[in-house]
């Protein structure tokens, strides 16, 4: 009996396990049987274009100091956030500020006092279908102007000693900080800014950045209108009388400062709201990851993309980019160019689109160092710099058309460059003149130490060429290179330095930084009262491009006369496609190749 029962018990147990397994099995299948055949569930046939970038995107907002990276900037551009189609303007490869009137227009009302009016198109709309209102413009102004900040900074260290900074900005608030609370006409959709002082870069102030309704929701406001009312009612910050941190401002700032940082595709759809023609679709962080975009369903602009998915893949290794291009995994790449990169792409039949980047390498002499306080020694040293040879070693293999850069103010793709070169006289130093240099030295053999970045092959090569050439005239060039060069800038422990500046392309706010006595980027102790005065003037010249150009050319000429140093070459740039995409145009600016995605088409 017991035997039988045990057997039956076993059978039952077996049955139970079997049933449980079947149930589990059924539960673990996909609900809708997919035939293996239709792998790709793609609706339309517009296709996909994949672009490789060296740096990974880290945020859907590139305007905070923590997120001010080029790939984040591209994301902003594609979404029309503060730049790009969908916002008020974008910048083309010739560094013209091109207005985009899809969502609104900007108008200079008066030069003195400086008054600017922003007008929204009545049909302007965010990608989630919410209409754009003056509330959005007001929020953008509140963020960028630092109107509510009441902080005092320590001059030396830059640390906040007292008060609050709400919205963290990669750029500065200078310019907008002089504006009063804007005049708003919600009916007409206009917002008018009145500046307290003239501001040279007024046309680069873009007031379409982030949607107010999303900020309102995050910071606990009932609606965007309530948010606008709150902004109106909150008094301006006063550094002289710092207040307790304002809770609601802090909540708003939190979204701006860190809320848009992403490490995975955000679940909060509000973060994805876009003003431009693209909306983020998927994201994976870090080198090897990607961010993909789909067209904005609400986009009404004239410029329309002809394909329906844009992918930016993050590939840090330049050689991996080339192989991926060759293998068809990406269609467009922007690698750091070298002779080998160029020929490797040519070798498999890729299409090269060459240009020049906005950055340029330059040699600066420390004006107040012992050896270079004598202008004759400065001239002699500059006369030994083999600029043509450096160019031919580093740039020519990439871009055979490239020429030595002859201006400290403009790069060759800017229209003002030709005039500057004609006036400034940097072309005198085209080829080294050892004889004249030896003459100037009159038998002296000064020792010159040069600071450069040992981790950058271009700088190392330039240093070696300069060292060899200067030795011929009697200079004893010492290697003061370091991978930690940047912290040594301005320390005075060297006589000359080789490094690069990135020309802003548009805007003039950084001019005094480098050229004025004691400027933040003036690392070589340059001081010339004439230049100081010109730099001051440049900042208050409104709407007069010609005068600004004149000022810059004049600074260029004066720096040449003072034997400030020499511009060496403009960094070559490169975009390559594997032939699958047409319409790619080189852009040396911050946006890179993706600046004209609406002109891209899939070939064949």
């Amino acid at each position: 009996m017991t035997h039988m029962m045990r057997r039956r018990g076993r059978a039952l147990a077996g049955l139970a396990i079997g049933t449980a397994a079947m149930v589990a099995l059924a539960g673990c299948t996909t609900s809708t049987p997919e035939t293996g055949e239709s792998g790709d569930t793609e609706g339309t046939t517009g296709g996909t274009i994949s672009v490789a970038q060296t740096n990974a995107a880290t945020a859907l907002n590139s305007s905070t100091p923590d997120t001010n990276l080029n790939t984040n900037g591209m994301v902003d551009y594609l979404m029309g956030m503060g730049t790009g189609p969908g916002s008020f303007f974008y910048v083309d490869p010739e560094f013209n500020v091109v207005p985009d009137e899809t969502n609104g227009t900007v108008e200079l009302v008066s030069e003195d006092p400086l008054v600017v009016t922003y007008t929204l198109d009545p049909e302007a709309v965010w990608s989630d279908g919410t209409p754009m209102t003056t509330n959005d413009l007001l929020l953008s102004w509140a963020i960028q102007s630092g109107y509510y900040d009441d902080a005092t900074f320590d001059e030396a260290t830059g640390e906040v000693t007292e008060g609050n900074v709400y919205f963290q900005l990669a750029g500065s608030t200078s310019g907008l900080d002089t504006t009063e609370f804007p005049e708003i006409d919600a009916e007409a959709g206009t917002l008018t800014l009145t500046y307290g002082e003239p501001f040279v870069d007024w046309n680069l102030v873009n007031l379409i950045t982030k949607p107010a309704h999303v900020f309102a929701e995050h910071a606990g406001f009932g609606s965007a209108e309530e948010l606008a009312t709150f902004l109106e009612e909150t008094p301006a910050g006063d550094p002289a009388a710092p207040a307790e941190p304002n809770e609601q401002l802090t909540a708003l700032a939190e979204l701006w400062n860190t809320g848009y940082n992403i490490t995975a595709m955000p679940e909060d759809e509000g973060l994805l709201v876009s003003a431009g023609m693209w909306v983020p679709k998927d994201f994976q962080a870090d080198d090897g990851g990607f961010i993909s975009f789909e067209p904005n369903p609400e986009w009404r602009g004239e410029m329309q993309p002809s394909f329906d998915e844009l992918i930016i893949r993050f590939i840090g290794d330049p050689n991996a980019q080339i192989t991926a291009l060759q293998n068809g995994e990406v269609h467009v790449i922007e690698p750091q160019p070298s002779a080998d990169t160029v020929s490797a792409i040519e070798a498999f039949g890729g299409t090269l689109i060459q240009g020049a980047q906005l950055s340029y390498d330059h040699l600066d002499l420390t004006m107040n160092s012992e050896v270079f306080s004598d202008p004759a020694v400065r001239e002699a040293f500059l006369l030994t710099i083999p600029r043509q040879q450096i160019l031919e070693s580093i740039v020519t293999p990439v871009d055979p058309e490239a020429e030595v850069l002859n201006s400290q103010q403009f790069v060759a793709n800017q229209p003002q460059y030709e005039d500057a070169v004609a006036a400034n006289g940097y072309s005198d130093f085209a080829e080294p003149d050892i004889e004249r240099a030896t003459e100037l030295l009159a038998g002296a053999t000064p020792t010159v130490s040069i600071l450069y970045n040992t981790a950058n092959p271009n700088r190392v090569d330039a240093f070696q060429l300069i060292q060899a050439s200067a030795a011929e005239a009697g200079f004893n060039v010492e290697d003061a290179g370091s991978p930690d060069w940047s912290s040594l800038l301005g320390s005075g422990g060297y006589d000359a330095s080789i490094f690069g500046w990135i020309s802003p392309g548009v805007g003039y706010a950084s001019l005094p930084q480098i050229w004025q006595t004691g400027g933040g980027g003036n690392y070589n102790g340059y001081s010339n009262p004439e230049v100081d005065a010109l730099a001051d003037e440049s900042q208050v010249t409104i709407g007069d491009e010609e005068r600004i150009t004149e000022i810059m050319i004049e600074i260029d000429r004066l720096s040449r006369e003072d034997f400030y140093g020499l511009p060496l070459f403009q960094t070559p740039g490169l975009v390559a496609t594997n032939g699958a995409v047409d319409g790619v145009v080189y852009n040396g600016g911050q946006t890179g190749a993706i600046w004209n995605t609406w002109e891209w088409t899939l070939a064949g």
Binding site: A21, L25, C28, T30, P33, E34, G36, E37, S38, G39, D40, T41, G47, T48, D66, F153, D154, T157, G158, E159, V160, L169, G171, S172, N257, T258, T263, A264, D282, Q284, D286, D287, G288, G289, E309, I311, R313, F314, I315, G316, D317, N319, A320, Q321, T323, A324, Q326, N327, E329, D484, S486, S487, L489, F499, I502, A509, S510, Q513, G520, G521
Partner: protein, 513 residues
């Protein structure tokens, strides 16, 4: 035993604390975290520098700053405390950066380790059993060569010659191996096979002829059916392969002398073969969990078969049936993956170029588990191979040396003297003891592989922890580096612990105190 484990855990925590301190201080002193800002000509650079110093307490000397970090990190272990690993220079929490990166790396490293152990140990054993044969010398050379190859060099070569060339060949439309290539491959394989067989000249010639003919015939067949465009094992191929597994497993594990084992293996093989026809419908709607359950069910069924048929040597028969069942089901699964291949190739995002050189997935590709599985496979294939190559050499050398060492021990001679067959001597007596030194290597090797992943991940653009470490060290971004360190350190400690444990289990002479 319990006190051993407890003491090891305490010691491990102490190890971790000390190592993290060293790592933290080293990293912090390795460079200047303000470099990017100091070189910037932004108007508010000074203010940004101040901000960063304040947020990351850069004004506190690193040895003291470590305490702050450690306090936050301790929160990750203590229940109900918040886990705070600090933030990177861009003010993103490290705890948000780590999980995805760790998943990629662990996937890559574990696959490589398993492959390296399997292939390394097998090659090592064969090398040792055929000491000083052409095969042994050849493998010695190959493994040393692979070991001497810088990993990024291997990666570049793999991309150039495996990915690009294979894809070109596949997408050229005329993907035929061709007569010449077929003949060459057949000859090469035949040469290897005859070296493997060794023995008398007659044996070698026979081995050479058979393997050359078989390879040639197979490749010719693959060409004829356009296999690389529409691969699959097919009912006949599967039957042959399963039969091979049944024979092979039985021969190695129990020998054909054990009739019960052979019968059990046969039943298990037939079961797997039948399931191939029965399960196709279920496969079409499968998820990874379905396959997992099916796998468990198969193993359970095989266990029962072995148990029923087992007779006096039940344990061995069960081993045979389960192994046969496992390997045969793998074939069935593999066949299903191959069936998805044409659809995968045809996808516009693949465009007939399946082997990827960057990333972990085809962005935007959607499909069933078979298609996505293939996608993962094509992306991880090359990085896994290149990482495997690093440790493959080590395993072959140590396995070879270990087996040679063991084969000279007295007890092996005793076993032989008893008249045991060579198979029994090797599989029963030598193999287990040979594994003792290997366990030590595995533990040390994990660290090497995690380090090797640094380069592999960069070359193949995989967003793992190596990429995180690289980017962070370049900017002297201490907190993400410490996050990376924590993950690999814990992995390494865990594996060391397991090694010590298995060491004690395998070698009773080593007392666990």
């Amino acid at each position: 035993m319990l006190s051993f484990i407890v003491r090891r855990i305490l010691a491990s925590i102490l190890t971790l604390v000390v190592a993290s301190f060293i790592m933290y201080v080293l990293t912090a002193y390795s460079g200047n975290p303000l470099q990017d800002l100091q070189a910037s000509n932004a108007p508010n650079a000074q203010q940004l520098i101040g901000q960063r110093i304040e947020r990351l307490s850069l004004d506190v000397p690193p040895p003291l700053r470590w305490f702050g970090w450690a306090a936050g990190a301790a929160g990750c272990i203590v229940p109900f405390a918040t886990c705070d690993l600090g933030t990177d220079l861009n003010y993103t929490a490290v705890t948000a950066l780590l999980p995805n990166a760790a998943a990629s790396t662990v996937r890559l490293v574990s696959a490589s380790t398993i492959l390296a152990i399997i292939f390394g140990v097998i090659t090592g054993i064969v090398s040792a059993l055929r000491q000083y044969s052409a095969f042994d010398l050849g493998m010695t050379f190959v493994s040393f060569f692979l070991y001497s190859l810088p990993s990024f060099l291997a990666a570049v070569l793999l991309k150039e010659f495996v990915a690009i060339d294979f894809n070109n060949w596949l997408s050229s439309g005329d993907s035929e191996i061709g007569f010449v290539a077929t003949a060459v491959i057949a000859l090469v394989i035949a040469v290897i096979m005859q070296a493997l067989v060794a023995g008398s000249t007659r044996n070698r010639v026979i081995a050479f002829a058979i393997s050359a003919a078989a390879t040639f015939g197979m490749l010719y067949y693959l060409d004829a059916v356009d296999w690389f465009q529409r691969p699959g094992l097919g009912a006949i191929g599967l039957a042959l392969l399963i039969a091979g597994i049944v024979a092979g497993v039985t021969a190695v594990v129990s020998g054909f002398g054990n009739r019960r084992a052979l019968i059990g293996a046969g039943v298990a093989g037939v079961l797997a073969y039948v399931s191939y026809f029965v399960l196709q419908g279920l496969f079409a709607v499968s998820t990874i969990w379905t396959i997992g359950i099916l796998g468990l069910a198969t193993l359970a069924a095989c266990f029962v078969i072995g148990w029923l048929i087992g007779g006096p040597d039940r344990g061995q028969v069960i081993r045979v049936t389960m192994l046969v069942g496992f390997l045969s089901s793998l074939l069935v699964i593999a066949d299903r993956f191959l069936q998805a291949w044409p659809a995968y190739l045809a996808s516009p995002r693949i465009n007939n170029r399946p082997i990827a050189t960057v990333g972990e997935q085809t962005v935007g590709l959607t499909g069933d588990m078979w298609l996505m599985g293939l996608d993962t496979f094509t992306h991880f294939l090359l990085p896994t191979i290149s990482l495997t190559l690093i440790s493959f050499a080590g395993y072959t050398r140590y396995a070879r040396a270990g087996l040679l060492e063991v084969m000279n021990q007295d007890y092996i001679r005793t076993a032989r003297a008893k008249g045991l067959s060579e198979r029994v001597v090797v599989t029963r007596h030598a193999f287990r003891n040979m594994l003792i030194p290997i366990t030590t290597i595995v533990a040390a090797d994990i660290g090497v592989l995690l380090g090797g992943a640094l380069i592999t991940e960069r070359v193949f653009a995989i967003s793992g922890m190596g990429a995180l470490f690289n980017a962070s060290l370049g900017r002297v971004d201490v907190n993400p580096i410490m996050g990376y360190f924590l993950v690999i350190a814990i992995t390494a400690i865990l594996f060391n612990f397991l090694a010590d444990l298995s060491y004690a289990l395998l070698d009773p002479r080593v007392r666990v105190k």
